[in-house]
Symmetry: C2
Amino acid sequence: MVLNMKYPIGAKKSTKKYNNYGNRGMGLEGDLEITNNYYLQTDQAIIHKKPTPITIAKVDYPSRLEAVIKEGYFRTPSTTDYNGIYKGKYLDFEAKETTHKTSFPLSNIHNHQINHLKAIFHHGGIGFIIVRFTTLNQTYLLTVEKLIKFLKNNNRKSIPLDYFKENGYIIKDKYNPRVDYLEVIDNIYFNGGNNEKNKT
Amino acid sequence: MVLNMKYPIGAKKSTKKYNNYGNRGMGLEGDLEITNNYYLQTDQAIIHKKPTPITIAKVDYPSRLEAVIKEGYFRTPSTTDYNGIYKGKYLDFEAKETTHKTSFPLSNIHNHQINHLKAIFHHGGIGFIIVRFTTLNQTYLLTVEKLIKFLKNNNRKSIPLDYFKENGYIIKDKYNPRVDYLEVIDNIYFNGGNNEKNKT
């Protein structure tokens, strides 16, 4: 049972409608949703985005069957947004967009998300980040191994675009699946160690 | 940054405070939270509960840094509540309590959650349900294999307690970890096929 959203007729000045699905199909998050649905429908992988963590403070019950959250707060996620299973392997990643043209600010990813990815790697899972440079219209996949390498050797607060070009993998734009990151994962982890790199 | 919960001084009649953490340490969900934290701290496994999926309809911004959800609705989850990685394997489960004494009503688990668990199994992951009979103070783990077997051979709307006793595994009460379900998983999947069963 999915409850319908109810939009207010007269919204307060400081109140904004929150479009959960307004961006579906637009932006990296929407593209990934379509892509993950495609993987699911074609039975290639089971990968889902975790719901946004929310602390609920007040709930109204206008009827016995309906519950309306009247006060809630966004929490900082303790893990990455996406995880699932692909070819029997545990897979885990975070996806971010940036309007920057020459580097990706690390402030976009929480420290505990990076630590989570490191732990996933040490437990034998596949971990990575997907970063889209929206202005350049380029989307990169960077494995947690290469992310760790960067953090070890740098005190910089952003990862240069060049680092993505040299150590990451570009994810080509497609019609379907829109952001075919599993093609990259195949090349890195499932082609008998033949780390063929998708060059720009 | 975790925003503090703000409780209303004068709550409306139909409004209830929602204790996100009120049950921490109590009930199966609280026990599993403590257990999963223990696994995480001891670096045995990385298993998290997914946040409750919520459709947000209205958000207030009383200040630039604060966002308050003013209208939201609970969504039906499309997957199980728990997943993660253990010994390199993808692990996925749903946990439920029942006050029933002789059977577990299948209405407690959504159909798409069962289908999700089946798909996980077919993709090579470890899937199961944890069911606590609160009145009996007994907690069982039933693998998705045995769940599928039951659903194939039965049209019943509940799984009898006896089926859990014969096909499931009891999870012993402990101090720490409180609900040591990985001990059961070890016995089933990681002891070289030695499916030693923890009998009551």
